[in-house]
Amino acid sequence: MSDHRVDPTQAGAEERVGLAISATLLVAAVLALVGVVVPGDWGTGLATAAIAIVTAIPIVRVGWLVKRWAGQRDTKYAWAAVVLLALVAVGPVIALLQH
């Protein structure tokens, strides 16, 4: 059908990103597991690192979308992703300023 455009590299790119997410989550899982087993500050530090990694993944994923869509010259959606990142930054920024 010719009523649309599909990026022929999309499947490969998404497979690579999916693999990267899985590998990162595996690292986070190991850190979380070791973190709950190891007592004291070391354990807390490892568990904190696991949580930080897991929290960062969705934000980094949107950053990747901005780069990818900008590369496809799909500027409307690249800007939409930038707007989303800006909106989700509002809460943490206000919390940091109030802290």
């Binding site: 989550l25 949580i51 929290t55």
Partner: protein
């Protein structure tokens, strides 16, 4: 609950939440509160369960092209803008009244999805594997089903975005996650296939939950040991939920979602 029991609960609720596209927090948080944990401790654990399960489901859902990132980004922007507005409007409506309204919305969404038969978007022979995925410059796309290709074209986008904005306002006012509004709104209002609706919501709620989690982290509201256990449970739950979802037919996923929405309505009323 012991940390191990919390991990198991997180795994179970994340699995169900990922399968239905609602996120597991709406079940995990009430469960933790029922067992004696204060809401202030349970809420961050709910958020981390949503973030972890969202990423755990990502690889399979991206491989099967059921996540439409463009749809997710646009709808979540409306929802997040609504949440910011809702946070400023907190206190305008009584929590109890709002919760009953939300329960009513969940029941209506359950009935709308439950009574519908068959599939709106079917395998179309004119489309091939080259057409599968998101289509550049639009929120349309196609996904693979039973060896064929199912194209879809979201309808009533304005109405859908309005629903997402309302779900965000509700989240901002009440703190209740909006996944149970977002997935049925995409599916029933915007006519997006239920698997795409569910996967896309699983992706998008991970973004806002991560942002909310950062706020909790700044305030020092996260119990690190319990959060690590929730990460472990939810990573497994998210994987299993996405696996089961990929094996089920769209009508079965929709019926499961309807049952889940009725459960959510009961949880909301009990919470009120």
């Amino acid at each position: 609950m012991s940390p191990l029991e919390i991990a198991i609960a997180a795994g179970f609720t994340s699995g169900i939440g990922t399968l239905g596209g609602l996120g597991g927090a709406i079940m995990l948080v009430p469960l933790l509160v029922l067992t004696g944990m204060p809401v202030s401790e349970a809420a961050p654990l709910g958020l981390i369960s949503v973030v972890a399960a969202s990423s755990a489901a990502a690889r399979r859902q991206m491989r099967e092209h059921t996540t439409n990132h463009r749809l997710g980004v646009v709808t979540e922007s409306a929802s997040t803008a609504g949440a910011v507005a809702g946070a400023f409007a907190a206190g305008v409506i009584s929590d109890v009244a709002l919760t009953y309204v939300l329960a009513g919305v969940a029941v209506v969404a359950a009935l709308a999805g439950g009574k519908r038969k068959g599939m709106r978007w079917k395998v179309d022979e004119r489309y091939g594997t080259d057409d599968v995925g998101e289509w550049i410059g639009t929120m349309n796309g196609a996904y693979s089903l039973n060896g064929g290709v199912v194209p879809y074209y979201p309808k009533r986008v304005g109405l859908g975005l309005l629903a997402m904005g309302v779900s965000g306002i509700v989240t901002g006012i009440s703190g209740v996650g909006g996944g149970f509004i977002k997935t049925p709104a995409k599916s029933e209002l915007m006519h997006v296939p239920v698997k795409v609706s569910s996967s896309t919501t699983t992706f998008s709620i991970g973004i806002t939950a991560a942002a909310a989690l950062l706020v909790k982290a700044v305030h020092g509201d996260i119990d690190v040991e319990l959060a690590a256990m929730v990460v472990l449970g939810s990573l497994v739950g998210g994987q299993v939920g996405s696996l089961v979802q990929s094996k089920l037919s769209p009508p079965t996923v929709r019926k499961f979602l309807s049952v889940l929405l009725l459960v959510v309505a009961v949880i909301l009323v009990a919470r009120a």
